[in-house]
């Protein structure tokens, strides 16, 4: 019963004039980095600055899907480690992150998609990550109600099933990490908006916030969709396009959907939360913008797509739609950098719609990077210079389109 005794998960602290390390962004990435800095590397003089409340941005607006079924070996290795961390963190933080290890089924609607699945399955298996290619019948067995007939505009050709994936309660990750970070001495300041960054020659010196100036030796920009705006305070231009991405849930139903499923051709992913709602999303507005406005068009679009894939969903109702920002890079892989233009300046951005699933593992390696100043091998592939050298990561095979000009 002691487990039920209620305590504050983290407590407000006064804003100090100086911290060894400041992290901009109280989302999964910032909190995970702060937590790992304090717990693993003993750097406890850390402040996390959040302009709204923790988890306000992408961390609280995603559909909570986690997986390691990416295309390239660098990414698969990285996300596979990320998958292992949910259990580790649940234990370390003593906070149930509610990892529902239901597996992900990605549906293919063309021969080309099936080829891509085969490549993915081969790559995953080569790296010891479970994935297999399914035929349409097997897809229908995994997801009852899936229409595998020729009726849909894009008939289902098969799927890529990835058992290690699933969904995690996204808010729990934010709160658990805040709890863990605070327990190790990290200060979390909500409602503290960063308005400028001070430098001292070639070093970062501190930030100017809505609550006053705060000095620091190391600064991490981990502000999700707003990272470009923060980096711009130092005149650093990032190859990141912030796009609005929307998601929605239906009224709650008794569980009938036992895996995450997704479809590239229909721009849909869907899963059933532990509360019984079908959480679904995937569409991105093509225009670069910073709004988090949901659109009527998308609600309709999503309904059209879902009822084609699973006609029984005609009988379901949408209850809530919301939007967040996805910070898209041209190759759909992130930018993890250290000493970026200024000593002590670190950047963890450009996650697109992979920001939630990567949070803890990115925090682990960014903390190592910030603590040691040495770039960890695991994140070597995610350097900014790849864009200057025209070496995209290959996470997306297709050449990405972010505007009408492509």
């Amino acid at each position: 019963m002691n487990r039920l005794k209620l305590r504050r998960l983290w407590s407000p602290t006064p804003l100090k004039r100086h911290y060894d390390t400041i992290i901009i962004g109280g989302g999964v990435h910032g909190l995970a980095t702060a937590y790992c800095l304090a717990r693993t590397h003993g750097i406890r003089d850390v402040a996390v600055l959040e302009s709204q409340y923790i988890g306000f941005g992408g961390s609280g607006r995603n559909t909570a899907i986690v997986r390691a079924n990416q295309r390239t070996p660098e990414n698969v290795r990285f996300y596979a480690e990320g998958l292992k961390l949910w259990r580790v963190l649940t234990d370390e933080l003593d906070f149930n992150l509610m990892f529902f290890n239901c597996g992900n089924l990605n549906l293919g609607h063309s021969e080309a998609a099936m080829n891509a699945f085969r490549l993915a399955a081969n790559t995953h298996s080569f790296l010891g990550v479970k994935s297999e290619v399914l035929d349409p019948q097997q897809c229908a067995e995994a997801i009852p109600g899936l229409d595998i007939s020729d009726r849909p505009a894009f008939p289902i050709h098969g799927g890529l099933f990835h058992p290690p994936g699933g969904i995690v309660r996204h808010d729990a990750v934010v709160w658990g990490l805040a709890k863990g970070a605070a327990a190790h001495g990290v200060h979390i300041h909500q409602g503290c908006e960063v308005r400028g960054i001070d430098t001292d020659g070639a070093r970062v010196a501190g930030v100017r916030t809505s609550l006053g100036r705060v000095g620091c030796n190391r600064l991490g920009i981990m502000a999700g969709g707003y990272s470009t705006a923060v980096a711009a305070m130092l005149g650093i231009e990032l190859p990141i396009h912030p796009l609005t991405i929307q998601a929605m849930v239906t009224l709650p139903l008794k569980p009938f959907l036992h895996h995450v499923f997704s479809s590239g051709a229909y721009h849909v992913y869907a899963n059933q939360t532990l509360k019984g709602e079908i959480a679904t999303g995937a569409h991105m507005d093509p225009q670069v913008n910073y709004t988090t406005d949901a659109t009527a068009y998308y609600l309709k679009h999503q309904a059209e797509a879902l009822v084609e894939l699973m006609p029984a969903l005609r009988r379901v109702r949408f209850m809530r739609i919301w939007a967040g920002l996805a910070d898209m890079t041209p190759d759909m892989a992130p930018i993890l950098e250290g000493n970026l233009g200024y000593d002590g300046l670190y950047l963890d951005a450009g996650w697109g719609y992979f920001g939630f699933k990567s949070g803890p593992v990115a925090g682990k390696y960014m903390a190592e990077y910030m603590a040691t100043g040495e770039r960890p091998e695991m994140i070597r592939a995610f350097q900014l210079k790849r864009f200057l050298e025209n070496r995209y990561s290959g996470e997306t095979a297709a050449v990405m389109k972010y505007g009408h000009w492509d």
Binding site: L6, R7, R8, Y53, D91, F95, N96, L97, M98, F99, E111, A113, M114, N115, F117, R118, L119, A120, N122, T123, S125, F126, D135, G145, S149, D150, R151, H157, D171, W175, T250, L251, P252, K254, P255, L257, A296, A303, E304, V307, P311, A312, L313, R314, R315, V316, R317, M319, R320, I321, P330, D331, E389, N390, Y392, G394, A397, V399, H404, W405
Partner: protein
Amino acid sequence: MAVGRVDVGSGSPESRGRREGSLPPGRLTPGPTCRVDFSWPLAFRFLGRSMTGFAGDTVASALYANGVRVFGRSLKYHRPRGLYSMEGESSNTLMEIDGVPNECAETTELREGMSVRAQNVRGDPKTDRFAFIDAFDRLMPAGFYYRLFHRPYGLWPLFQNGLRRMAGTGVLDPRRELEGGGRGRSGTRGRAGVGAGGGARADGGSRANGVQAERYLNAAVAVIGGGPAGMAAALAAAESGMRVCLFERRRWLGGHLAWRAREFAGEPIHRRGEGLAALLLSRSRAAGLVKVFTSSPVTGVWGENLVTGFTVGGEDHPFRECHWECRAKVVVVASGCMERPLVFNHNDRPGVMQAGTAWRLARTHAVSPGKVAVFSVADDLSLEVAVDLADLGVEVRAVADAREVGRQDPPLVAALEERGIPLLTGWAVSRSIGRRWVTGCELRAVNGSGSRRLRCDLLVANAGWQPRIGALATAGARLAYCTHTHTFQPAELPDGVFTAGSLTGLRDPRSIEASGRLAGSRAAEWCSGAAPRLATAPRECESLPAPEPGCDIRHGPAIGRGAKAFVDLDEDGTYKNVVESAVQGFDVPELAKRFGGFGLGPGQYRVTGQNLAMIMADLGGDPVEAASPTTVRPPLVPPSLATLAGPGHDVHKRTPLHGELAARGAVFRRAGPWQRARYFGADPRLAPGVDRGSVGGRRSGRGSAKIGRGSADADCGGAKASRGSAEAGRGSAKAGRGLRDEILNVRRNVGLLDSSPLGKFRIFGPDALRALQRVYISDLSKARPGRCKYSAMCNDMAHVLDDGAIIQDSERNYYFTTSSGRAGSTVEWFRYHTRHDGWDYHLVNLTDAFGSINLAGPNARGVLERVTGDDVSNEAFPYMGCRRITLGGVEVRCLRLGFVGELSYELHVPSSYCQFVWGQLMDAGADLGIRPFGLEAQYCLRAEKGHVIVGAESEARVTLTDLGMGWLWDREDTASKKVGAPALRACEKQPGRMKLVGFRVEEGAGSGGPGSPRDGALVVDGGEIVGYVCTTRRSEVLGWQYGMALVREGHAVRGDRIRIREDGGRGGRATWSATVVDPPFYDPAGERLRA
């Protein structure tokens, strides 16, 4: 024009009439505002019991009249829940109706034959087997699941499955719609009942099936709400000549006036509403400026004043539900008010209801809400309810009013006194008493002193009124707490949004109507762009009563104390849970909402929003005006996916030759916007035994492929049926043989391909060449009349986007082709990349104006010669030539290209002549055995030639040079600023890039197996992945398996032996050896192209 069933008055007395004394059980004598027609009984079933309701009933009112008090069980604690609201504000009455889960019984009209079931119930809702969970609430404080179940971790999956089983309310059978292969929209199930007339429907009125419609409206003024203010606004705006759309969620107009029988200014209040409605409808019929939509809830106001919602169809509508979107210049929000629930102990017990619920049961549906009632309210309208119910025969034991003495409307106080009903000012209910339903209650002074227990079977409770702010909030209004009305009011309205009516705190009917007229006039003024003259209210309004002060009671007295007081009925969120959230650090509404789930259930913000904000402010020790609302998210009313999806319009393009291909048994697949023939199956009429049932020929005409585990996907020629079922096998072995024949017929004889989606463009003008030089990577000054020049377009990163042929037609006049996928974006691509140059050129997309037919194979010239008099000999018309030739009187452009690696002619034919030309060619080649081939055959044929398809053998990591196409690049030309040239130069000598290589799979023992490698196999070197196979096929003509792979430089040089590996298949790991060879694999010297 009126859309929806506009029910102005309340029907004639005759139709409602029933002789005194013969009232059905549970019913009251119908009054003037009754909308139930006792002459039209409707039979329905609940829990297997037959019940009777009447036309005009909702499912909820009919159930209540039949004595049903427990409608379902709550989500977490499985507490009994009853009829609390009337407009779907809570999930208490979400029920399964005709197999559709989560239907709102409060707003769903009763129909003949309906089958209704309670949700989240094991057994009877009165005696639910999970009811015991209620006793374990102390184990479930806010966020308990975050702190339990994870130690030891191994047990979590067990708990998780348990939690999952308890989650959700409605039950969905995911396979139901698949049975019989019908989808609702196809009409077989859907419209069966509609045409039949009468009340009965084949599917009992289920909204999920049946015909769905869509409307796209345009209005100067959209009015949300058909109450007095909304109607007055619509009338005023229309008088100014504006086109108005008015949306009302109920079946009738009139808002809250519609069930008020009290006299006001000389007439019953409901008459005022009916008068306005009649005026509005006559105006709409006369001038056509007003469209009135009833039964049409608004789901949201989006950017640029787009108002969306849906209309529920009645018996006389051709649709079940109609999704609509209305683009308006101005939105007038007159969405009215709802009650703010009073949070007190056991406030969820069946028998506790809103004042409006009890009132409307009695006045709209002639259902007796209870025998003995106690009221705990905080506003005058609720006092009116008490008086009215007393007049209808309900014994009102007491009325507690949370407001202080003197705040009440004196005439109403007098009316209560007259009827002998004690009024307890400054008192409120502290708890309800009873088991499954209310048998009594305890009243206390708001400050907690004193208490009285009363017996009752109906407990009417509220904390006053709160505006329905959903439409305002989604429209972008910033809301702030108003200390006068004690509600959230707009602190700032966005441009083009006006408010009117009781939403603003007005209560007097005259004020409400005047505010509507004012809003309508302002809206019209705003539309016309005239300078605002109505910035201040006209004098008419000054003499009318202003918004009345509200009540700031946060919760009932003596809250908690071992009892549950619900802030959120949907998610079983109690007052204690709010406190617990705050204690754990979730001390602002937005965080508490997420942590405790307040306002995340089906009722969303509606019931919970303001109470949560006020209680959080209270707990934080802040003044009530610090209360901040949580975000309101659309949809404001949950629409079904069937309604949103609409009638289902798959928008795709068909080539001019679609019919010809279908007649030949083409199997079509979508490729971008097009339906394209992938391959040709055997004609089912000629091939007995082919199962046609599963295809049904819906799209593909006489498609023959049986759906299932077929194996022939892209299996070129080899027909290795053993490729395994794990592969995407859409198609059959039969199709595989057909594909093989298609390929061989091109290689050995002659075939026809419909390549109409190919991009076709004309560019002309003084600067046409400069534009071409900018976007194409080659030197196009070398383009000549009569010659095809091959080139490619790159993007700034030197990724290949497209390739095609460019022909100079005349001076400053060019024709070029693009791949099908780029046809849609090419014009914009040119424009974007020349946008700063001010060049003078014109670019015309001819893609749809001209079809394209590929005639390919060694006998191609023979066929062509039979249909044209023009000289098409190799000398007169060599490889890469371009001519205009005439076929049967039709002039076509003919390009001699070699994509598939044979002598071939690409005919660009005006679309309307395509069928004719196709027929000519088919007839001319009939004796030779000419036959069409599909995209799949083309894919294999070109791969044998090593011709790259963008996207198949290229990706975001490779440039033009990496693909071995660097020879196209005119590296000397820097003046044209070719798109992609700087990137090509920059990474030309970069080490370690991925390069496209060809390979030949070694056969026989030692190479590996089983089977052959497939697209997507890995190329490995030691323990490392160094590349992957893009395309590999076994060539029937060559007799060996060839392929193309992208491999990191240095790991695959010509002559090297590489290892190809597949791990992902079900059969486990397989590896093969292959030798790196240069493409083309087939006809390396290109003799066949030039033959």
